[in-house]
Subunit: 307 residues, 2 copies
Amino acid sequence: MVATDNLQMPQGQSPFNLSAYMQQRQIQVEAALDSAIPVIYPEKIYEAMRYSLLAGGKRLRPILCLATCEMTGGTLEMAMPTACAVEMIHTMSLIHDDLPAMDNDDYRRGQLTNHKVYGEDVAILAGDGLLAYAFEFVAANTKNVPAEQVLQVISRLGRAVGAAGLVGGQVVDLESEGKADVSIETLNFIHNHKTAALLEACVVCGAILADAPAADVQRLERYAQNIGLAFQIVDDILDITATQEQLGKTAGKDLQAQKATYPSIWGLEESQRQAQHLITQALAELAPFAQKAPLVAIAKFIINRTH
Amino acid sequence: MVATDNLQMPQGQSPFNLSAYMQQRQIQVEAALDSAIPVIYPEKIYEAMRYSLLAGGKRLRPILCLATCEMTGGTLEMAMPTACAVEMIHTMSLIHDDLPAMDNDDYRRGQLTNHKVYGEDVAILAGDGLLAYAFEFVAANTKNVPAEQVLQVISRLGRAVGAAGLVGGQVVDLESEGKADVSIETLNFIHNHKTAALLEACVVCGAILADAPAADVQRLERYAQNIGLAFQIVDDILDITATQEQLGKTAGKDLQAQKATYPSIWGLEESQRQAQHLITQALAELAPFAQKAPLVAIAKFIINRTH
């Protein structure tokens, strides 16, 4: 282990403790999200937005944003509004994906989906409200960062969620459902856009807020693309191998829906090998950075997680 | 007529020709919107976004933004990305409002609604894509305006469409449907948020882009709030008095849905009087401005329109 890996460690001796790190950051992110959306009139919409936004989860996206900002020389405070925004965007995409007209899911993160609690109309609006607020929140609350960089962040976030990102991936996913002949290129397109694009934005925006040099931003883009695709391959694997209790959502759903997945094209063993390869490539991109322990540990966590 | 009203006139003699002005601006806005969204893979989502965005309409919101920016000393070029963004946001709200889970409308602007053509899933995503792209477009394409002001614009746009704006108004509207006892305060809340908030953002953002003084921005806020509410009162009146052909959408729909409207609370005559009073107040706010002819004419157009 190189010395730079030890910089985040309390004693400078013990290996980096990702679990403790994640827990600490989760508490900070939860507090920021909680205070970002107070409940005022009309209460129902704010409650619906908060219901899904504060439903727990690993907070992987905001933590990636915060960790990258710190690694590239910025502060937690600079990145916290953007970290909250990526979680708002992610939550919006879950609320809309779960709708009857889309994936028609009843459970998410171990609780009823937004539309099962608040109705389809309010769920659509809660997603819209979270999406709009994400951009407002970054624009109005980012401190100690030149406005030009904040505009770059907003531009990146918009691209990650729009037709060139999440939305485009979801459209191809919907088109591919029930098709027997989905190619690996199409599957990669879906997940590069549905999953990797937002993870990439988290990392890249963290680096932009810290004013990282362009070459570093590009390395981090590749890091994020690789862990993003690995994340989805592992998700597909877990859908087959994990139980519903572990996932907090309906397991085996891909098989039931006859969805094309990495295991359905490559098999389980090759899927695992490919995910490992992507993580190895991601770690290589981190080589030049000091204080990289959190991003290293997150990449390893993605391949080793059980839910 | 004071001399300043004549500044926009080609000959300096004839009265301001709103129809010619709107037509010219519409052509410019249509061209900007058309080139803002090219059709690439996956084509379906870009086609769905373009289907509703390029479906015509008066383009009142972008024109208000452009006119205010010019009136307060800015240029068309400074305001065009924001003008496009407000139309993207407005179109998003129409697509989502028309969904079966919301108002369940089959026709809009004289053509089938988005979900009738592309399906509910793609219509939801087309709205999400337009909303995300609106913010990206302003952040990435606004030129010759200090970044700080562009951030203020993004913040205002976000507030106008989120729970503190459009989304909040729509939630109260949905809650009020079928209720016999909707108060005038609730009706005002609905329309101040569903209609006036975005019109206000159009005008205010135009002024911010031109770096107008705070006192001028506040006058223009009040102008926009007044024409926004008048716009809705006239809409309610036209729903009763105009034909389907004139409106390009189903007429008499409010009555069928037993929706509370200004005429249902005040009657037609008092509604007309209140709308006229709001327009008079709006015009008073324009008193200090030179080159105000377009905003004056737009306020008068709102009260006098027949569809």
